[in-house]
Symmetry: D2
Subunit: 363 residues, 4 copies
């Protein structure tokens, strides 16, 4: 990954600012003859779209994606796929403060430190709006992976309230606006978030993404490991501060005995009795579900004034009025899924490139 492109063979380049005329992406290296049209992409964008509940920002965007190239008569051609979404709800009126007063915890000051200039309108390039194009690219990646691979994500922790693994039910995730997989936890979160919202506060969260059906052999050690590419992809999402695979940080407390994933042959294939590893050994997929989690910090946009500085070097106190997202982790669920899909599609092509279609020795 570098700058605004990620992926090696399945390569995604995104562009656009929150309040510019449009945002978009170019997907290069997509295999040819993959069935694709807007209807394959739009539902995923709709799922990420803000304004769908009181717990996400009230910005209203249709987020209608347009395919400008790379698809002909309903199939990809192997040439670059250009996707664009026009920005329609730009509210250009309320920028004054952001232009000169750095929002604490936001990228404002860092962009100025680096570039000496920034499009401050709505956060410009650093806005979470950019993630819409990740979701769009992820939708294309899913088509490349085909029905073989299933990717799903859920919110598993909001503030101090983690789901109970014993109650975890993927079936209900898409039936509630919080992507909650725990029916008992759902009302707890709703009450908790309503309170956070009322106070003009914000809270962090943890998201889990699981990919099932991933063929063994994906991943390119030593420096293109499947898990290190996932770590980069997930850490690149706005506000993410931690990434883990399988047992993750919990493995620090485990002994080798507790962390072991015993193997046995079953119908001519290797079967693992457990999945502490999260589907990856030595950076290579083993055929088990690939399990990743990532932590999202609370947004810095809160009603409480926080000491800050201006571009001109004066001390000020900054509070964030207007649209408010009590838990930005909610909308990170579809984004995390999309990044998982893109990484897997890229590694599928990379594996095919180096190794071809050889059958695994043991599967």
């Amino acid at each position: 990954m570098s700058y605004n492109t990620f992926g090696h063979l399945f390569r995604v380049t995104t562009w656009g600012e929150s309040h510019g005329p449009a945002i978009g992406c170019v997907i290069d290296g997509c295999p040819p003859r993959v069935p694709l049209d807007v209807a394959d992409i739009q539902p995923w964008l709709d799922r990420r779209r803000p304004g769908q509940s009181k717990f996400t920002t009230q910005r209203q965007e249709a987020d209608q994606v347009e395919i400008l190239s790379g698809v002909f008569e309903g199939r990809t051609t192997g040439t670059p796929i250009s996707l664009v979404i026009r920005n329609t709800d730009q509210r250009s009126r309320d920028y004054g403060d952001i232009a000169t007063r750095y929002r604490p915890g936001h990228a404002d000051v860092a962009y100025d430190m680096k570039y000496g200039i920034r499009d401050y309108r709505g956060g410009g390039r650093s806005s979470a709006r950019e993630t819409a194009m990740r979701v769009a690219a992820g939708a294309v990646a899913r088509k490349v992976l085909g029905d073989m691979v299933s990717i799903r994500g859920a919110l598993v922790q909001v503030g101090p309230h983690a789901v109970d693994r014993a109650r975890m039910d993927w079936e209900i995730v898409n039936d509630n606006p919080l992507f909650c997989p725990d029916a008992t936890m759902l009302p707890v979160w709703e009450g908790y978030l309503a309170d956070i919202r009322r106070k003009g506060s914000s809270i962090g969260a943890v998201i889990e993404v699981v990919a099932e059906g991933v063929p063994p052999g994906l991943g390119a050690p030593i420096y293109g490991k499947l898990d290190s590419d996932l770590a980069m992809a997930l850490m690149s999402i706005n506000a993410v501060k931690g990434v883990e695979i399988g047992e993750g940080f919990a493995s620090a407390c485990l002994t080798g005995e507790e962390n072991a994933d015993p193997m046995r042959m079953e119908n001519g294939r290797v079967r693992f009795a457990s999945n502490h590893a999260g589907g990856v050994l030595g950076g290579i997929s083993t055929g088990q579900p690939v399990v990743a989690r990532f932590a999202v910090k609370p947004t810095s946009s809160i009603l409480t004034p926080v000491p800050s500085v201006t571009r001109e070097g004066e001390n000020v106190d900054v509070m964030t009025k207007g649209r408010h997202d009590p838990c930005v982790g909610i909308r990170a669920v579809p984004v995390g899924e999309a990044m998982m899909a893109c990484v897997l599609a890229d590694h599928l092509l990379r594996h095919r490139g180096q190794v071809g279609s050889h059958d695994p020795v043991v599967l």
Copy 2:
């Protein structure tokens, strides 16, 4: 990163198997005229070298590095720097089991799934021996960063025993073989690890790496963020299952108020009152210390037999005899520092390439 190369402008390619004739790396893109000789690299290798205490593997290697190119009369020339370490302690006698019986939790089975072949001697390419070259490259990266940047790491958790932040003392880290920064905790760890070792068991750990003096402006959003590159670099280390920046996973439980890093002007520069962000905002360094932590799983090499399979598809139980590393996280400390150094050196050059030497607007 891809395959066996990482970095964009400061690029490191490693090669070699645990029990082949040698391991090595090529560092390409290093700035010219940087003072460099073996004495700049060897001490870091000595620090990582196994066999220095009873808590790390008893493999004995001199790990004597040789510079084969890219340095002339004590300074880098801007051409590729080739470093090599001859393998001397290869113990070729005891491979029989590994060749056919997959060690559970190791990369053995995954390499075979991917490549259909592997150099099984000592783990081959997947051996932690490869990390010696990361440390060597990190030593060169430190020279590129110069005295401005200071990077140090410590073990902060072993199994359930985490250091007490209030007692944390960087001065003592290099005075004990466990890289422990907490004098009170050190004997606890020693006793705990002696017990783990006696049982033929193993335990996980958490390592923290801090870089001070990092200039603001490093990092290339959206997909070459400083933190996402760090996540990839640290996750690529053997046995790492999780990476976090600043508050990391703890931020999931924080409110926006608790997580805020207030800013104030101080002597014409921005000063932050706290560093929950870990030195990175929007993927760009802010001048604060860059703080990363990563979790290392317990090694799967334990004396307890674990169900496994053979290459030929038969069920077996595998236990690991011979050299034993009760906590592989210990030796990961110098490796984590090295990866931090390489990522920072790369981003320093990348920033200079795109932006040149402009003075930050606010610093």
Copy 3:
């Protein structure tokens, strides 16, 4: 370069098909705070635009470029610059033949061999229309290079008619639609091309591009040499079959004495008495003008029927009716300049990244 992206730090990704809704490019890695608006780009596009004389295709496109991102208040922000041109003259009526009958000498058959699918309308992705985005990117690259560097191109040979170097006059190049630098040769070409056009034939050409003011030190040996990157960039232009630097193929006939470029100090700088090398030694610029030439084959679109095959594997004879370009080399002049500009801008940033702003020892 890979797929649809070229450049390393100054990276250009183009997308779009000849008869799709639009074509575009994303320029990533552009330095921040470079003054840029549509008026900096449009004139170069106008210069390349077809339909300006009877010697180029009569396709009429306004080729009006739009900036969708990466520019704020008239300056670049360091974030990706998205440029788009809507296709307006798509003439969707006359595709039937192309869909099934491969035009000999065109990419039709090769795209089908590779991808098994192609957007055949107007040549799709393989159309010279793509070069409009190269010209747009080149305009941005010129802004990065600044006034220091001047890049200009000319047609120097049309069929058997080469310009006389003694009469070469850069001043007149932009005053005639053939980019001819030789006032005596101009009417010869006009007559010759009128004849070619009348016959429904086509003819090849040679283009020369010269960059003056290139700072010494650009180029990254061994595999990112300035001249090898130029060779790739120019060879990637449609219909180009040869690239040379300095004396080029003529150097095969020269002795070491004839080919020598003597050096002398002059006002504290190295001055070369001649420029057989074309401004590059060992892959690195020397401060002399960088001189490249490339050969463009005659277009295969001619009125004479040529044996061909259909997608279904039947023999047919194909002749090209409709729009006709007797010498596609003419329009390659602005494209060659643009590729030179992009390569130089990329190497300027790459040099700055690795080496910083050190003063050359001798200049």
Copy 4:
């Protein structure tokens, strides 16, 4: 390509200076299970080795290659292949002049302009000695391509003396030290070169490389075209000043009728009646032989003094004593073949990655 690495999936990184302890390369991304040992590489190195006739430099090196990694029990493992050649004939005595006096036409001055430092011994990194590792990598690439693809090169022009195409006989190329394919021309060249050598002069040359059996579909438009990657690869060879594909510069003089390659079906496959295109259409291989030529300038190392400057900025006259290569183009033949092999191997993997193993629609 960038710095000292080329290729995308089949990636070659070379390192080493002419008079350092060793030169080497790392080949990353090679498919696993390819039979490989030293005997597959050494013969190609022997063929390139200098000192085999009076027409190449008298430097005597055994050029004995050693495989340090990536091969296990005679087959590649998919991990990086490290190759090294120890330098044995370093003649460290005669450097004095080169250190301070720039050899005109050599990279000496350019390296100092760029890096401010250089290993001047024997030309350091800019020495043609580096090409030994290209040949070694090419030998591995040939194994990846397998017996399907045959690559051969020949010298086709020395100074004003070009071979007669009607007499061209590939069978005799390896039977003479000049790689001459024209039995009648061979004595002419021998006499001509003896004369050049006697005078202490040098002369340029043209090399042709042809790859037969290349599968259709290789090449990644727009910016990873097979021919543009070839152009870069060949232009990166020391002293190369021009590259052409198929008709190359001659196509500038051809009409569309003359340049046409008619197609007809033959046994269910497309057959071309001629190959003006050189095997590439739209940047994609068509199944025809891929034909490339490149021009090599006369070496600047001649006995005639040429005006030059010193590192300290004084005017001097420089003549080259000692080892002498009257026509460096001769030894470029195996190097050109090797670069062709590497580019094709890389594109084979790239094509397989994006497109998989689909059967071409027409072949």
